[in-house]
Amino acid sequence: MTITANKETPLGEVPRTQQARKRPHRDSQLKAAILFLIPASIGFVVFFAWPAFRGLYLSFTDYNLLRPPTFIGFDNYVAISTDPVFWNSLKVTLEYVVMNVGVQTAAALALAVLMQRFTRSMVVRGVIMLPYLIANVIVALVWFWLCDYNLGIINAALDFFGIDKVGFFGNENLAMGTIAMVNVWRHLGYTALLLFAGLQAIPKDVYEAAEVDGAGEWRVFRSVTLPLLRPVLAFVLVVTVVGSFQIFDTIAVTTGGGPVDATRAINYYIYQRAFERLDFGYASALAVILMIILAAIALLQNKLLRANESDLER
C-alpha cells in the first residue's frame, strides 16, 4: 500500500485524488503547517536565504574582503564570460560529476542488490560504511599516497607485473577520474545503504511471483527491483549530483587544481578566487552561476524522473 503512495512523483506533488479528499480540512492544515514550519523557516531565512541574497549582491561588486565592497554592476559576469579558466572549470566539473555519479550510483545499486540477494550479514553492512566514517581530507591523503608514482603500493604492484606505472593524480587526463574514484570509494557504502533501505521496502511476494515465473537474476533486477526502487533512486541521484558539483576537499588536498587546470573544478575555482586571490565579488558571481546551474539540473531531473513512476500495482 505504501507503494501506491509512492506513485507520486519522486520530488513532486500528491496526486489530485488525494488532494480532493482533504479539501474540507484545508484551513486548519495551513495554520498547523505554519507552526510546524517555524523553526525550519527561521533556519532557512537566517542561514541560507539571507547569505544567498547577500552573495547575489556581492556578485555585483568588487570586494577584496579587506575593504568594503564597491558596486560595479555586471562587470564580474562579463569578465566571467571571457574567462577560459571558468569555462574549463565547467567542463572539468561536468567530467567529474558524470564519472562520480555514474560509477557511484551504478556500483551502489549493484552493491545494494548484492546485499539484498546474497547476504544479510551485519558485518558486510558495517564494513562498507567504514570509509564514510573517515574524514574526506584523510581519505584523500591516504589515496594520494597509495597512488603515488614512486612510493605508492598500487604503482609498485603495476611495476611488479611489468605494467607501465601510472601518474594517477599527476596525469592531466587521469587526475579528475582518479579524484572521482576516490570519492566513489568513500561514498559507495553510504549510498548503497540508502538504496538498500529502499530495496527492503519492496514486498517479498513480488520476488516470489518472479521466482514462480522462473525469472533469472538479471530479469528480476530489471523488471522488478529497478522500477520499484525509483523514488529512492531519484532522491539519491538528486542529492549526489548536487553534492558532486560542489567537490572541493579532495582537490584541495591532492592536486590543488592542477596539473594545469585539469582538476580546477568550479567550486575549487570559486574558493581560490575568494580566499587566495581575495576577489570575493568575482567569486560570488561564479557562485551565483553555479547555483543557477544546479537549480536547472534539479529541475531537469525532476522532469525526467517524473515520467517514470513507481508501479507496483500491475
Binding site: Y149, G258, V260
Partner: protein, 446 residues
Amino acid sequence: MKTNRVAILTLAAIPLVLTGCSAASADSAGGTTLTYGLWDANQAPAYKQCATDFHEKNPDITVKVEQLGWDDYWNKINTGFVAGTNYDVFTSHLANFPEFMLNQQILPLDDYIKADGVDLGSYQDGLADLWKGTDDKQYGLPKDFDTIALFYNEQLTAAAGLTADQLNTLDWNPDNGGTYEAAIAHLTVDKNGVRGDEAGFDKKNVATYGIWMENSGGADGQTQWSFLAHTTGWEPTNGAWGDEYNFDDPKFQSTIDWWYSLVEKGYMPSFEAQTGIGWSDQLTAGKAAMASNGSWMTGAVFGAKSDSFTPALAPTPTGPSGKRASMFNGLADNISAGTKHADEAWKWVKYLGSIDCQSVVADAAVVFPAIPAATDAAVAAFEAKGIDVSAFTTQVDDATTFLYAITDHRSDVSALVTPAMEAVMSGKKKASSLSGVNEQVNALFK
C-alpha cells in the same frame, strides 16, 4: 518513544549548559591580553618562552601564543580581518604583505620605532627594507630569514663517488648545466644500476633520481629555480614594488628550458611523477639523491635520519655570474589594524625584534633569527645537534642573496603563472610560452 525523545532532548540540553559555563572566561584580572599567531609548530615552544619572559618584564601584559598549520593559519587571518577577530600581532609573510599593507589592515610602526629608538640597521642587511610599504613606512621588524641550499643523501653521493668538497663547489650554466648537471646525472641510477651518465642508461626505469622536482615553482620558484635563474643576471621584476615582470627574458626562459631538460634526460621526475608525496619523504625513501629547498625544513629533514638516509647540505651552485644566488626571505610580525591594544602590541613586537627573544629562538635551532648575533647563536645550536648549516649562511656571508620580489597583485600573478609553468614542466609547452603569460601578468598593472 516519548520517553526516548525526552531523554534525548535532555541530553542535548547539557551542551547548552556547558556552553554557558565556558562563555564565562573573561580577561584575567587587570592587564591586557594580546593574541599572537604563528604557523611553525617547531618554533612555537621558543615563542611561548619569549611570551613568558616578556610577561615577566611587563607584568600587565599577557601574550597568548597560538599556532596553526600553514593553510589553516591564513584561513584564520583572512577571516579574522573580515570579521574583526584577528590576532593582535601575527607572523606575516611577504607573499601577503602587499595586500595587507595596501588595504590598510596592518599598522605602520615608524612613530613607535622613532620614539623607542629601535635601530633598523641591527638586523641582517636588506631584511628591514623588505617590510617597507609603498608609502615608505616600516610595517614590521625583521624576525628571521631563510635561504636555499641543496639537501642530499650522503650515502647515495658517497656511493656515487662524489665528495662533499665537490658538492660544495658545483657550477652551473643554462647551456650544458656545468658540474651541477654532471653530478645530478651521475647520481641518477636506473633499475639496473646504470648511472645517468653511463651507456645503457634506461631513462624510462629510474630507481633514484639525481634531483627531485617539487612542483613547478609557480611565479617565484623560491626553492625550485630562482637560485639558478638569478645567477644569469635575471631580475624577476623591475625593482621592489615593481609593476613589470620579466618572464619573457631569454635568460629566464633558458634556465627553465634547461631545468626541464633534466626531465627529458631522466635525471628528474616528470611533473606527473612528482605529484604526490612531498620531496623530503621522497628523499628519505631514496627516490631522489638531492633536492633544493629552504632552511626552514632543516629540522624535519635531519630528523628523518635513518639507516639508509644520511642528510647533508651543500650550497647552491655558482652560475654564469661567477657567484651563487639564493632567495632571501625575511619574516616579520605585523600588528593588525583592528587591534584594541596598539601600544601593548608594539611592546610585544619590539620584544620579538630584540636580541632577548631572538636568542631564545636561535637556541631552538629551527630558523635563523634576523639579528646577526642571534644568527650565529642559531648556527651554533644547529652544530650542537650535529647539523652543519654553513650551506645556508654562506649566502648571507658572501652577500649572494636576492630579495623576494614584492609587487601588488601577487596572488593574481601566481594564479596566472602557475598553470603556465606546470604546462612547461609537463612538457606540453616550451618556456617561450611564458612570454605570453608575462603579457597577461603585466596587464594587471596597467
